[in-house]
């Protein structure tokens, strides 16, 4: 469903993402981890079509995100880390706009909007202007808008930031539920425990390179073998002090786990 085919992205001379090869099949919840500035957001912005790879290609359900950007966007739902909402639209009007842009006709649009209002508990405030929403309310509306068209691929950037415990639980349940019904979920997060709890597979990116890729089983074996936690493994893998310039040179580590 998602395919990064030797993707490199440069910003001037800086290599933000280097030779990323990654395939994420249908129904998998993939957690993308990495320290700040590692290349997570650049990868996501390329995946949703905002940035273009300098080399390589990204395909979503077989659609190239550059050559066939509209078709790729059509099968994708995106929840950004800093969501945008039109202040002077109500939540319902925002959902209706997204539904129309997703090609739903009036009947489909009304049904989809009602379904998501119900699913995300938006009824109490959906007819108020978005400018009055709290962060949690906005985040729920953005999730609802991303799922209006039942996308085949859901891309979520830092979904837990700023949410209260109840909303975090809801988001985790939602992502798992989507994956179990066949949606490919690509989630970027800093919260290691969330990744460990809900992801089918985890990838760690550092300085533009994928340095760890493994399923939960492989990860648990690796952690048991090294008698360590995911946090310690993450810190070990992304430790500072490496003299290799960012985004160039050989892979930093190969921990015997499946590599892309």
């Amino acid at each position: 469903m998602i395919e990064f085919d030797h993707v490199t992205r440069k910003f001037g001379r800086k290599v933000a993402v280097s030779g990323l090869d990654l395939k994420i099949p249908s129904g998998e919840l993939f957690a993308f981890l990495g320290p700040n500035g590692a290349g997570k957001t650049t990868s996501i912005r390329m995946l949703v079509g905002l940035l273009r790879p300098t080399e390589g290609a990204i395909r979503v359900c077989g659609h190239d995100t550059v050559a066939d950007s509209r078709a790729a966007a059509h099968v994708l739902g995106y929840v950004p880390d800093e969501a945008f909402l039109y202040d002077k639209l109500s939540g319902r009007e925002f959902l209706q706009f997204v539904a129309e842009m997703r090609g739903l006709d009036d009947k489909q649009s009304a049904a989809a909007v009602d379904r998501q209002i119900d699913n995300f508990g938006l009824a109490a405030f959906v007819d108020e202007l978005c400018e009055t929403y709290s962060h949690g309310m906005s985040q729920r509306l953005v999730f609802a808008s991303a799922l209006l068209h039942d996308p085949a691929v859901l891309v979520v950037d830092e979904p837990m930031v700023g949410l209260d415990p109840r909303s975090v639980r809801m988001a985790k349940d939602l992502l798992r539920e989507r994956a179990s019904t066949g949606t490919t979920v690509f989630m970027s997060t800093h919260t290691l425990s969330v990744a460990e709890e809900i992801a089918d597979r985890i990838g760690i990116i550092d300085r533009g390179r994928l340095i760890f890729l493994g399923t939960q089983d492989q990860l648990q074996k690796e952690l048991a073998l090294q008698n360590t936690s995911l946090e310690q493994l993450f810190l070990q893998l992304t430790a500072e002090g490496d003299e290799t310039p960012r985004g160039s040179g050989p892979p930093v580590a190969n921990h015997g786990v499946t590599r892309s």
Partner: protein, 600 residues
């Protein structure tokens, strides 16, 4: 359903299984896309209008009244001007004069609209927050472009409509134009705004697409180039005349120098010709020009769409694909100079002033506008040197010199409204730092006031000095102007800082939106009234004093007139000082009181 209940229901998500193979509907058609955008725009506009009408009636009323007053004044000025031309200039020369008046106005508007739409589009196509959202939807990139282009046209052309509509209506009435003239005004103006707007849009897209890393330099060079051309044109038009001032030959020479505005390839010429033909009832010729304009407008709009289709996404990628250089900062000479000049102030205040100066000079959006305005004024002052006391009637020169002081004051009021007034509101975002520091809140306001006065007094004083040097005014007038300048700087700074603290916009983080809000508008209105009052208090007695000196007979008929005028001169000067003190102290006191109570 209560919020908790609805919340709880989300645990059982009950989501419909996603249609993996064919999610949602098909790709949205261009027509449906256009409908969705228009509906969204309409909804936003209605919500904003309803909100403004319920929450900001005073603001709307004030803006409406001020706009109506300005429009009426412009209409009367144009009406009188066109009547004057009709009554004093004979036949063919009258038509040629009107054609050139229209030509100069529309050429200027073409340049302004091209630049303003290009600049607005750069910000709305590449920097606006909603664009990243819109580009991730499966719509066409050119639809996003069109959406932003139409917004830019409206934003960049309101000044043109405000200035152009009274002029064209006044001309129609003076020329006794048929009803047809008024009917075609709207399509002519709409088509005209599209042309430079589309050219600016295409230029913006191509520059960002092909020169993303050098776009600021290129845009800066373009602006500098246009300013240089304008200066050269201004120089050649205002250059030494072969004829005596205000004679028919001098007038003809001016018209000859402005002939370039009648170039057949300029849209401004199509517009002025079409409207003049319509006013004279030659509707067939007028329709021809209208068709020419509409077809060109549609053509350039289509070029914009093609360019956006081919270049917008790549240009967007280029803007965000650049590596942001990590700038190393150092203590600039200017910081040291300001630090030294404010040595006598309390240390905390000094630090706050230097901090504000650093924020200002490191933000090109802030200082570039300031620089362009002052640069244009500098060019104008350099061009007035021939209009001096040695050559012309002193009353005229005196009037021009005071008008120059007013222009500097008005420019300063836009500076205080745009940059000083929003400073308090912007501090609210950083108030977790300033609010926790062991310093009295008043000191923050005093530092803003000192920053505003210090930052305005030097450039304004130098500009007025230059204007006076070019006009070769007497030392006493020069001293009077400098005093007026100081009074203006203190008063305008006091109004901006005081009102900024009294009426902050704590939720807004864009300085331009804060300045355009109700508080900012009120600040501009009070500032304008203050400038008019101060300048009139000092300019009027001096003007009459010169008048009586030029007509010596008047003084011999009324021997006490000279003494009265001297008293008026002193009283006017003292009055302006008093007004300056009031304008400084009263708003600051109000601001201090409000700032002490404010909860961030």
């Amino acid at each position: 359903m209560s919020q908790d209940a609805t919340y709880a229901s989300t645990f059982d998500l009950g989501l419909a299984p996603p249609a993996v193979a064919a999610p949602g509907g098909g790709l949205v058609s261009p027509e449906a896309e256009a409908r969705a955008y228009w509906r969204m725009r309409w909804r936003i506009a209605s919500a904003a209008t309803t909100q403004t009408l319920t929450e900001g009636r005073l603001r709307v009323a004030l803006i409406a009244v001020l706009s109506a007053v300005l429009w009426t004044i412009l209409f009367l000025v144009f009406y009188d001007g066109f009547r004057f031309l009709r009554n004093t200039i004979p036949g063919d020369l009258h038509d040629e004069t009107v054609r050139i008046v229209f030509g100069v106005f529309f050429v200027t508007m073409t340049l302004m609209l091209t630049f303003s739409s290009g600049i607005i589009l750069y910000s709305s196509l590449f920097r606006a927050r909603d664009v990243a959202f819109l580009l991730t939807l499966p719509g066409r990139a050119e639809r996003v472009f069109l959406h932003k282009f139409q917004e830019a046209i409206v934003l960049s052309s309101w000044a043109f409509v405000l200035l152009g509509s009274p002029m064209l209506l006044a001309y129609g009435l003076v020329a006794r134009a048929p009803a047809y003239y008024y009917l075609v005004l709207v399509p002519f103006l709409v088509a005209f705004t599209y042309l430079p707007g589309a050219i600016g849009a295409v230029a913006c897209l191509l520059i960002v697409r092909h020169l993303p890393s050098r776009r600021v330099l290129l845009l800066g060079s373009l602006v500098a180039g246009v300013l240089a051309v304008m200066a050269a044109v201004g120089w050649s038009i205002g250059g030494s005349f072969h004829q005596d001032l205000l004679t028919p030959n001098w007038f003809q020479e001016i018209l000859d120098r402005l002939k370039f505005t009648e170039h057949r390839m300029l849209p401004s010429w199509w517009l002025s010709s079409g409207l003049l033909e319509a006013a004279q009832g030659v509707w067939s010729e007028s329709v021809l020009f209208l068709a020419l304009m509409v077809s060109n407008a549609l053509f350039f709009r289509q070029v914009g769409i093609w360019t956006a289709s081919a270049a917008y996404r790549a240009a967007y990628d280029g803007v965000y694909g650049r590596r942001t250089s990590r700038k190393r900062t150092h203590v600039a000479l200017l910081d040291r100079v300001v630090g030294g000049a404010t040595r006598l102030l309390p240390a905390q205040m000094r630090l706050l002033i230097v901090k504000d100066l650093r924020l200002f000079r490191r933000d090109p959006v802030q200082w570039s506008q300031f620089l362009i305005f002052f640069g244009l004024l500098l060019l104008y002052f350099l061009n007035i040197r021939r209009f001096s006391y040695d050559t012309y009637y002193k009353g005229w020169v005196n009037m021009v010199s005071f008008l120059n002081v007013s222009v500097v004051g008005l420019l300063l009021s836009t500076f205080t409204t745009r940059f000083i007034f929003p400073m308090i509101s912007l501090e609210s975002r950083r108030f977790w730092i300033l609010g926790l520091l062991p310093l009295p809140r008043e000191r923050i306001l005093w530092s803003k006031f000192a920053f505003a006065v210090g930052g305005s007094i030097v450039p304004c004083s130098l500009l007025i000095l230059l204007s006076d040097a070019m006009l070769r005014v007497t030392p006493s007038i020069l001293a009077s102007h400098q005093l007026t300048c100081v009074i203006l700087c203190f008063g305008l700074s006091g109004i901006a800082v005081g009102l900024g603290a009294k009426m902050p916009s704590l939720r807004e983080d864009s300085p331009s939106k804060i300045a355009a809000g109700f508080g900012g508008t009120l600040n501009l209105v009070f500032s304008t009234l203050y400038i008019i009052a101060v300048v009139l208090l000092t300019a009027m007695p001096i003007h009459f004093y010169f008048g009586t000196q030029s007509y010596g007979g008047l003084l011999s008929e009324r021997p006490h007139l000279g003494e009265w005028l001297q008293v008026w001169l002193v009283a006017g000067t003292l009055g302006s000082i008093l007004l300056g003190l009031i304008a400084t102290i009263v708003p600051l006191r109000m601001g201090f009181r409000a700032f002490r109570k404010i909860e961030f």
